[in-house]
């Protein structure tokens, strides 16, 4: 009997207008989207190679024997994500740091596979299920079905399986066409891990689509009329897809305020200034004590601008070279003077230690980053009430097009910069050995430098990250099915 219900539901759906519209729309949008994005991907690859060439040319021709400048010249480039023909990655932080940029994606978020699943398929899923129960009650067929010897559980299961199967046909067909295009396109080279990621992405998409089918089914079991059911479905759809995910980051920003980076910079500078003031105050006291203790000898040392020892703390500037020389000579000639200078040196060290202690204890940056992590986590957890947000996390992190991928890139970039820094140190030392007169502005040959190669994060690590969100999606499925079940058990079929 279950088979009969599944077959009936399946046939009923595929002969419906909404199936045809869904199929045509899915096929058209997916194919158009993948074709355009694949072309875009080729352009991105071209741009990436152009960037690499410029970077190489700059380092080959203008590298100088100055580590700081060399590291500034170094801009490790991120290649386009391999899933770019399907999903458009989010821009990194550095993209926001340019005066010139393309404003269109800010106003019109680009269309990709995520859009097809989250908007088109979720809407289609609700359109397939909103009248599954209420519609049949209105037409009187539900009463006839129930009057036979069939349990309500089987009817509900049958409707779920048959409806989901018919709903997934447009999606799977469109995806297959897209995959075919990707596999025959010579510009797109996917390895086995990319195909595995695609398989997982498809599975996650199916979880998301069935979730909305079940939501529609649940609403239908609680409605007497299909007109009411569709309105309730759309109300929930708007809330879950269009409202909650977009409002959550703003709500979290209000619930948990963090200072801006600019404000933190200002507080950081204040602490820096305070540390200098403390060190100066300490030195002022020390100078007074030295004056009392050493009298004329110290006045002589003072007239030499303290020989440049801690001059910055005491004078607020560096001592002139002639004073430094004079103090040095005097120190060599007079042991008493030397003992005083040594004692003064110790005081300067103490002042410097105090300064460093205050700076090290400076909590503002750690505080900011800790708070930012808490705020982002809060926003992420708040948005988890919406299946849309959970699916976006799963799909983006799985395919390396999300926030995690940006963090991973930053991490590999920093590692590479460290590696490059050691290479530059060695290179400058070698060059200085060969040519002791080497200046910071002298050209340096860095043609044998280590090259930056971005490798995708391991699939295992990605899966560990996305599994909790995928779990929430499954949980939503279970909750909606159980609710639909409870609703249908008490449903008045008359």
């Amino acid at each position: 009997m279950l088979k009969t219900i599944i077959a009936k539901e399946f046939l009923n759906n595929i002969l419906n207008l909404r199936f045809m519209i869904g199929l045509v729309l899915c096929l058209l949008v997916t194919v158009a989207c993948i074709m355009i994005l694949a072309h875009d991907y080729r352009q991105e690859i071209k741009d990436y190679h152009a960037r690499m060439n410029i970077q190489d040319e700059t380092l080959d021709n203008y590298a100088v024997a100055n580590k700081y400048r060399l590291i500034r010249m170094l801009r490790p480039q991120k290649p386009p994500e391999r899933f770019r023909p399907l999903i458009i990655g989010i821009p990194g932080n550095e993209d926001l740091g340019f005066f010139d940029y393309n404003p269109l994606p800010v106003l019109f978020p680009p269309l990709d596979f995520l859009f097809i699943v989250t908007i088109i398929m979720s809407l289609l899923a609700m359109l397939f299920s909103y009248d599954a129960i209420a519609g049949e009650r209105q037409s009187g067929t539900l009463r006839l079905v129930i009057s036979n010897s069939i349990s309500r559980t089987k009817v509900l299961f049958g409707k779920f399986i048959g409806g989901s199967a018919s709903l997934l046909i447009p999606f799977i067909l469109a995806l297959l066409v897209g995959v075919l295009y990707v596999s025959v396109n010579p510009a797109i080279q996917w390895d086995s891990s990319a195909w595995a990621e695609l398989a997982l992405l498809t599975a996650a998409s199916i979880t998301f689509i069935t979730l909305f089918y079940l939501l529609g089914l649940m609403v239908s079991t609680f409605s007497r009329y299909s007109a009411v059911s569709i309105l309730n479905c759309l109300f929930l759809w708007v809330l879950l897809i269009l409202v909650i995910p977009n409002v959550c980051p703003y709500i979290s920003a209000q619930l948990y305020r963090i200072p801006s980076i600019k404000e933190t910079e200002r507080r950081d500078r204040e602490i820096e200034r305070h540390s200098i003031e403390v060190a100066r105050e300490y030195m002022k006291e020390s100078v007074k004590e030295f004056k009392l203790k050493y009298g004329g000898l110290f006045s002589e040392f003072e007239s030499m601008e303290f020989g440049g020892i801690g001059g910055w703390f005491v004078l607020g500037r560096d001592a002139g070279p002639e004073h430094q020389k004079a103090a040095q000579q005097r120190e060599n000639a007079d042991p008493e003077f030397k003992a005083m200078v040594d004692a003064f040196r110790e005081e300067v060290e103490k002042a410097r230690d105090e300064l460093m202690r205050i700076r090290r204890a400076n909590p503002v940056w750690d505080d900011l980053h800790r708070k930012a992590v808490v705020q982002t986590k809060l926003a992420k957890n708040l948005a988890c009430i919406s299946p849309f947000a959970n699916f976006v996390y799963v799909a983006r992190d799985l395919t390396g097009t999300g926030l995690r991928s940006l963090e991973y890139f930053e991490q590999t970039k920093d590692e590479y910069k460290g590696q490059f820094g050691s290479y530059v140190d060695k290179k400058i030392d070698d060059a200085r050995e060969k040519n002791p007169a080497l200046e910071e502005e002298s050209l340096l040959d860095v043609s044998d430098r280590p090259r930056f190669v971005f490798k995708e994060e391991a699939l295992k690590d990605k899966l560990t990250e996305v599994l909790p969100y995928w779990g929430i999606l499954i949980l939503f499925n279970v909750v909606f099915f159980v609710s639909a079940f409870a609703g249908f058990m008490r449903y008045d079929v008359r």
Binding site: Y62, A379, V392
Partner: protein
Amino acid sequence: MLKSIIRKEILSNLLSYKFSIITILSTILILVSIFVMYRDYCLALENHDILRKESSRGVEVIPPTPLGIFAKGLDENLCRSWELQGVGVEISSEGQKSLNNLFKLFTVPDLLYVIKVILSLCAMLFTFDIICGEKETGTLRQTISNNVKRPILIIGKWIGGFISFILPFFMAVLLGTIFVTLSPMVDMNAQDWAKLGLFLLISVIYLAAFFSLGLLISCLTHRSSTSLVISLFVWAIFVFLIPNLGNILARQFVEIPTVQQLELKRGQIMNRARFELKRIPKTQPDFEKRLKALEFRTIKEGDQLDEDYRNRINSLVKVSQSITGFSPAPAFTLLATDIMGTGVAEERRLKKAAQDYKDFCVHLYYIDESVDEESELPDFHYQRSSVKEILGQGGLSNCLILILFNILFFTGAYVAFLRYDVR
């Protein structure tokens, strides 16, 4: 008779479940959106005050507009502080971005978004069964059998339906606006009020287009379930598909390098200049002159690069506008953000002002040689566009597109209803 039809339509809508649910949804959304964006504006204002205080000479920053509460658009990017560099214009501090990366994943929930996406859907839900639903219940046949002309009936239905749809919207916006204006943080001048008024007018025109579209679909179908399915898909195509696909499709016609490539090219110009500078002996009597000439040439090379990039972006926007002209949503987005001073036109204007200011300073320093120090340079002043300027900058054409869609959809609905089989 027209009055009776309008009255009947309003009353039947007011008593419907659809009206209750749509009114509740739109009111909550509009109020939440205005409140959330108001708090966001307060944060932006605080950030601007810090930036202003911290800014050294030569660093420019414009304040956020209170109209960003209603349509944020590109305001976050417009209000970053920037400074002129030898090559290009540079964002002066890394510290202007948000640390909460989750903002990048989701859309800004401002009033513009609520109107563009959610209220347009509500408009179609209001009308999907306005004709075919009445046909199903049999009331349309009865009405037509009386002495009622079809044109009067459809006009009455449109007016009555639209009034009942738009009234809750106005009430919610009014409440939100009162809340915003009572706040001491928001200082709106007459120009801002005019812009807000214009924005609301454009919103009404935009929603009317979707209302007429729903009416058209209802007149073309005979069952409300069919009308609903078609309405939803047409809505998805107009609101999401055409604007978003058009944007990436335009990129296929206009090749634009990434900003990273642009930055690398700028760096290359600077490095080359540094390299050339080393070749000029400092002991030469004309060192200063040659240095200035090198600096001038480097600046011009950088400007050329920027100009080329901006021209490409302008072409991209034009191509994108042409492609997306098949839907009212992109025209509405562009027009609304331009009116509120947070759109592409404003951004282009700010960039042009920055470039003009740079050219002026370069002229004073290198050609006139009338200034020697940075402190002698004049200050940069910027005023956002007035309503008149906005309409002149292409706003009128977007406005015409919206009106055209209204005429097209309503005429379509009118013609379809004249030929509609009411049995």
